[in-house]
């Protein structure tokens, strides 16, 4: 067995194609800029001389250069695609690293194809999500986000090695290195190389996606629940309540985040039980939010109100006891809890929610102050709606545009925040493959062996980029009818 090259057997043909196309592209772009400048200069000169002169501009050359640049970009993309697809076709020995990686991700590709086919097929019936299929930016963003979501889901089928396993002789090896003394039937290479403890970087990155996507979206949802539940009354009622809540939010925002994390996650602090009290307060908000939501909406129909609020309280408080106090009552019946959270994870979760909610609070408060001056809010008031109905059903839905965008962005920040936490080794076990810890571990040998740090960094960046693009697409489409 030999070490893999990046491109495998296709390399000798396609790499020169990419190189030549890139050179052509650079020349064409530079030429195009010059042509436009020339056209602009002559165009203005002609204008001042004798009115609008349109035909004198050297349009022909500019268009040719545009075409050349487009063809070059197309060629580069085609070559990369071929290299990737070659992973599916070529025999084991001739696949490159890119080909292998593409092949290993096959469940993700399949899931993406199914999702997008169905979404585009039924986009008219899918509301805002369906409209996203009309926005190229949104589709790219969604594609990247879904890529990582599916990677997290199918992680165990994608990984090539045990993410925690250390194989001898694989310390800091370069990407594509062949495993020394492989066990029978195991994957024979470290696709993206090995880290300083001789673990497979590729597999750790894949498992890292799972870690990150378990915490970030859920923590963001909780932060939104807290921020919305407090921001609505602060913006709507104003006055002393607003002053108090805004002051508290500013206090949290003004406190150095990293220091706060250190405080919340250090074992001494954990022993005092403070994170659990935080959890007890913060986890209550979603229950309050949904109970008030249904209560205000169905107040006129008591049987239905009782049903919805009852179910909310039952499920909510059940999950609440399980998650916040690790005291799921089911445990006493069937021996194991349905809702529970690892104490380490709880700490991280609580800190992330605590740090994020003031930001959400401020956004919601500002939006409410803007929207509450509208006539439909006055119409609600004049027919005697309760303040909470107006806040939750008249104002909140109309603030959704900025909130959805902020939600997507905030998942990205949370991901980065988790990375920061991991980077400082807070709240996660040292073995954990999450991206932050991995980057920190790779940092020490960055100048000599960049790959252990670069791979999770690129993963982190692409996920956050995907979320931002998705946010853009959603914002654009939610404004259209």
């Amino acid at each position: 067995m030999e070490n893999l090259s990046w491109t495998g057997a296709t390399g000798p043909f396609l790499v020169p194609v990419i190189t030549i196309a890139a050179v052509v592209l650079a020349v064409a772009v530079a030429g195009r800029i010059l042509v436009s400048l020339a056209a602009w200069a002559t165009g203005t000169a002609a204008q001042t001389a004798s009115g609008p002169v349109l035909m004198a501009r050297p349009r022909g050359l500019g268009r040719t250069l545009d075409l050349v640049a487009q063809v070059a970009i197309g060629l580069i993309l085609l070559a990369i695609l071929l290299i990737a697809l070659a992973g599916f076709i070529l025999p084991v020995q001739s696949k490159g690293i890119i080909g292998w990686a593409t092949l290993r991700f096959w469940p993700v590709w399949a899931a993406l194809i199914v999702t997008f086919t169905l979404s585009i097929r039924f986009k008219r019936r899918l509301g805002l999500y369906g409209k996203l299929m009309d926005s190229p930016v949104g589709m790219v963003g969604l594609g990247i986000v879904l890529f990582w979501v599916f990677t997290a889901i199918f992680a165990s089928a994608i990984i090539t090695q045990d993410p925690l396993g250390q194989l001898s002789g694989m310390k800091n090896v370069m990407p594509g290195s062949v495993v020394k003394n492989p066990t029978e039937g195991a994957f024979a290479w470290y696709l993206f190389g090995g880290d300083h403890l001789a673990r497979d970087v590729f597999s750790r990155m894949v498992m890292g996606a799972q870690r990150v996507l378990q915490i970030a979206p859920a923590a963001t949802v909780f932060a939104f629940m807290v921020g919305v539940t407090l921001g609505l009354p602060a913006g709507y009622f104003g006055g002393k309540l607003d002053t108090l809540l805004s002051f508290l939010a500013n206090l949290v925002l003004a406190f150095p985040v990293i220091l706060l994390f250190y405080l919340l996650v250090t074992p001494e602090m954990v022993q005092t039980g403070i994170p659990m009290y935080f959890a007890a307060v913060l986890f209550l908000f979603p229950v309050i939010f949904f109970a008030v939501l249904f209560n205000s909406r169905f107040k006129t129909n008591p049987p239905r109100r009782n049903l919805y609020v009852g179910v909310t309280l039952l499920l909510g408080l059940w999950a609440y006891t399980g998650l916040a106090f690790n005291a799921d009552p089911i445990r006493y019946l069937i021996g194991r809890p349905i809702f529970s959270m690892d104490p380490n994870m709880l700490n991280v979760f609580v800190s992330v929610v605590f740090v994020n909610s003031p930001g959400v609070f401020r956004i919601v408060r500002g939006l409410v102050m803007d929207i509450k001056a509208r006539d439909y809010v006055a119409a609600g008031q004049t027919r005697g709606e309760s303040p909470w109905y107006i806040m939750l059903w008249e104002i909140l839905p109309n603030a959704r545009g900025p909130l959805i965008v902020d939600f997507c962005l905030r998942i990205g920040y949370t991901t980065i925040l988790l990375g920061t936490l991991g980077f400082f080794g807070l709240g996660v076990s040292p073995e954990s493959p999450d991206w932050g810890s991995t980057i920190n571990a790779g940092r020490k040998l960055l100048s000599m062996f960049p790959h252990p740090a670069v791979v999770p960094a690129v993963a982190l960046m692409s996920l956050v980029l995907g979320l931002n693009l998705l946010a853009d697409g959603l914002r654009e489409e939610s404004l259209k009818d």
Binding site: A379, Q381, R383, G384, N398
Partner: protein, 699 residues
Amino acid sequence: MPASASDTPWEPSQPILEIEHLSISFFTRLREIPAVMDFSCTVMAGEAMGLVGESGCGKSTVALAVMRELGKTGRIVAGSMKFKGRDLARMSDEELRHIRGSEIAMIYQEPMASLNPAMKVGAQLAEVPMLHSGMSKADAWALARQIVADVRLPDPDRIINSYPHQLSGGQQQRIVIAMALMAKPALLILDEPTTALDVTVEAGIVDLVKDLGEKYGTSMLFISHNLGLVMDVCDRICVMYSGEAVETGNVEQVFDEMRHPYTQALFRSIPLPGADKNARPLISIPGNFPLPHERPPGCNFGPRCDYFQQGRCDAAEVPMFPVPDSDRHETRCFRWNEIDWTAPPAAREVKEKAQVGRVVLKMEDLRKYYSVSGGTFGGGTKKVVKANETLSFEAREGETLAIVGESGCGKSTFAKVLMGLETATSGSIMLFDENVQSTPIQKRNTDTVSQVQMVFQNPFDTLNPSMTVGRQIIRALEIFNFGTSDAERHQRMLELLDLVKLPRAFADRMPRQLSGGQKQRVGIARAFAGGAKVVVADEPVSALDVSVQAAVTDLLMDIQRENKTTLLFISHDLSIVRYLSDRVMVMYLGHVVEMGTTDQVFAPPYHPYTEALLSAVPIADTRVERKRIVLEGDIPSAMNPPPGCPFQTRCRWKSQVPGNLCEVEVPPVQMLEGGHQIKCHLSSEVLATMEPVIKIAAE
């Protein structure tokens, strides 16, 4: 700008703008929506062409097409638009950039949205000639100053050095007009230029536009839904319906000898002097405006037309027929020469006058002051805004009390106090013998709340944009405890939609898919959902189309008769007030300046403000002679009202009062015969000399 060699030379005797068989479609994700079909019109040099029609008829689309501003989805599918002999539809962006702003200028409805808030007015104005004709900065500023003076703005030196937010709405619109005139365009497109303004301000702008048109010889394309305004401004008119021009001709001919059933129906649906809600009610046009992709075959107006003939009107597309012996008068009707156009309308439904019952609402000496702090940190001197001053009146069951006044007169504050959204500073409000003056809405019980409801002014704000129309009406039914089941409420919601003449399919629509008028009707349906006894209608029809106005006022009247609703109708449109109200209360800067029955208020003696207001309202009737009284200046700010009589700064009768009484003392309320109240210093002798503002010429 010199014409390039490829263009046909243009002579002033030829039309400035010649639109031929223009068709425009918007392409949405689902389908092609034809917005304008086979539209032709010709504007000669110096001519003012009025484009009239209901919202959604395509009049603004035509204007935007002339500017070639149809957006990404709009496309010209057929026809040509020749501007000075050159086809606008085939021009490149470069050529268009030269024409826009310099040869064709456009004035939009919302003045603040047309001005850059970060630039001084003078700089914005000077930009136009600097850009289009390379004028030097100093010359451009000098020209700007001159044009500002031309649009009759006081103190042009101060104005050109101020920012848009420092000017009032009327002044801003004058600046927009000035900007349009900076390049001395050959064609001026005005898209509802006065809709956002108060009537007295509108009258000034209309006068200005007319004079400027004469002074500069500018051709105009004047888009409006207001027939009276079009009569005031335009020489020719083109009536549009559902994407087609249905009748075109000069204003007198179209107004007096209309040859299209839609034009006729339109005139029968507007409240002209002489209309009466009981004896001669308006005739609203039956049916609904067809959706653009659901237009009927043949004549678009067919399904709503009294003269419809099956097999003929719905057989083929109707071409334009020229009316002989006329000034380019054309109509799009197969039967135009068969119909007896002078016949009176078939059996008007004469309605019984509603019985006016007991007093349901009584206000006494109501005052509402707001205190505004001067300094940034709450320090400084506190200013008091007197939004309402000594408001006293009674409203009876089944009565329509109109509250007339322009923006800033305190009518909205009054509505808020009545609704319980604010509490009064002093005075009392008795509602069904219950003092609600200091009861905020949260403390009122459901019955009281559902009995006092409000119809809001701004149709674009009145509905929650993220809830379906049906859901919003159902919510009102729910909160007022109507019905026992969802099915029952759903049924009632559909009936309410029928009541306000909206298709039932609208129940599942989102508000953004509705036009302004349709939204307003949903707002009315929602207000009446709880069987309201007192309805405050805050300019409910001011944003609606004329035929819709008739239908909506009819609807309001019908519901009023049925439920004995007391209607507090806040409006500045005196035509509609005269038509539907029993009593009128005129407000100015928080004061009630005149109050009496409709006849008393609309006949002399007037309060000077009422007189000006009456003369400012355009009336679409060629027989009516109107005295033009254009008020100088703007309404003073309520923060800083003038001393003495609030109206003294704009009053033309001030010289008739001895001494400077008007500037010193708030006038007392004079009680004239029949309970007619006027708050003015003018002696009864002077008041008696006043002449009626509106005279109907003998036929």
